[in-house]
Symmetry: C2
Subunit: 193 residues, 2 copies
DNA sequence: ACAAGTATACTGACTAATCAGTATGTATCA
DNA sequence: TGATACATACTGATTAGTCAGTATACTTGT
């Protein structure tokens, strides 16, 4: 199936929303990014809000697929697979298009807790935790659910640290170090448990 | 010194920006919150951006003071002081005005890494790490700098988790659990090191 | 003690720009 | 010929920021 105009639009919206934020991105920005006209946009989506939702869904899909492909490619044992999740994050942080986590950002921008962006963000994170729990189960850890929640806190902390202090000029410098520190803590958790 | 009109304005701006976000808050909102006229605002600040900066500075001051007062009041030994930081966060998460961390939120909303809000956010986090390092030094830990960075990652992860999944209706429920999980990991770090 | 000056606050209407969303008409391609 | 995309210009609302004129209260000089 060739990428439709609708897909182009969602991809463009996803990139712009990720780079500049949801409220700061205008529909003109998205139009220019994707070479798409205003009316095509409104033929596919009723409102900007719906486009936000579609962009977040695609981001969730792409991100989780890339994560899983990375882990499948780089790790063999169950233990290595858990730690590879942190290596994936390090690569992400040090890449030049890193703008933090779109879902954390969405939770910061949308103040109403029961809005669609907030619900999608929570679902995304729950999917990450579910994936982590599967890896913990495969590794034979005694309480995979708790460990998965702990590992997720480490990942969230690393993401935020890479974004907040890792990207400013002075003091910050290396966003990757947050991932390595988190990995170090993760190692202790899964090896001791 | 009685609270001046300028202070009222900064407090109102701080509350509104924290609750609704920076881009989503209009000057009208802040006016209404503080009972302050438009011209008073522009007599004290050249622009909304400057008000954002002032609000962030005040938030930083208030937050760090509350944290330090809590720790001083609730903990005696150096080890207890480190762990009390996590208890402080649990109280914060479960309070009804919790809207995440203003500085994480600012880093999500402002895309330019060298903008004032991003720099202030980085500085705030570096101050937190500095405080944690002091506690680690007092506790006689062998590598207080590294441990402080690790503890900070745990705190960041807890804050984000409490915000993103702790505040949505289904699945979320208890924002405080993220703080307790982080504290559990922190305990292991400072007791093994 | 009192008048003038000064600083700060207020109200309310105005501007210029930007935004989401709409309407109209044309080109393309099956 | 009919669906889909295009370009462009519009509406109406909201926004940051400005301006004019007024009220209040604290100094200061005489």
């Amino acid at each position: 199936m060739p990428p439709s105009r609708r897909d182009d639009l969602i991809d463009a919206a996803m990139r712009v929303f990720y780079r500049r934020g949801f409220h700061a991105s205008s529909l003109d920005d998205i139009q220019k990014e994707g070479g798409i006209s205003r009316m095509t946009l409104y033929n596919h989506f009723k409102s900007k809000d719906e486009l936000v939702i579609a962009a977040m869904r695609r981001r969730d899909e792409i991100f989780r697929n890339k994560l899983m492909q990375f882990v499948d490619a780089k790790a063999k044992t169950p233990r290595e697979r858990i730690l590879a999740v942190f290596d994936f994050h390090e690569d992400w942080f040090t890449g030049n298009e890193f703008c933090g986590c779109m879902f954390i950002n969405a939770s910061a921008e949308f103040s109403e807790a029961d809005s669609a962006p907030r619900r999608l963000s929570a679902e995304h994170k729950q999917e990450i935790v579910r994936y982590l729990r599967e890896q913990c189960e495969a590794a034979g850890l005694s309480n995979p659910g708790d460990v998965a929640e702990q590992l997720n806190i480490l990942l969230e902390g690393a993401i935020v640290t890479a974004r907040v202090v890792g990207q400013v000029a002075e003091g910050g410098k290396d966003p990757g170090i947050a991932a390595r520190r988190a990995k170090q803590m993760a190692t202790r958790i899964i090896d001791v448990k």
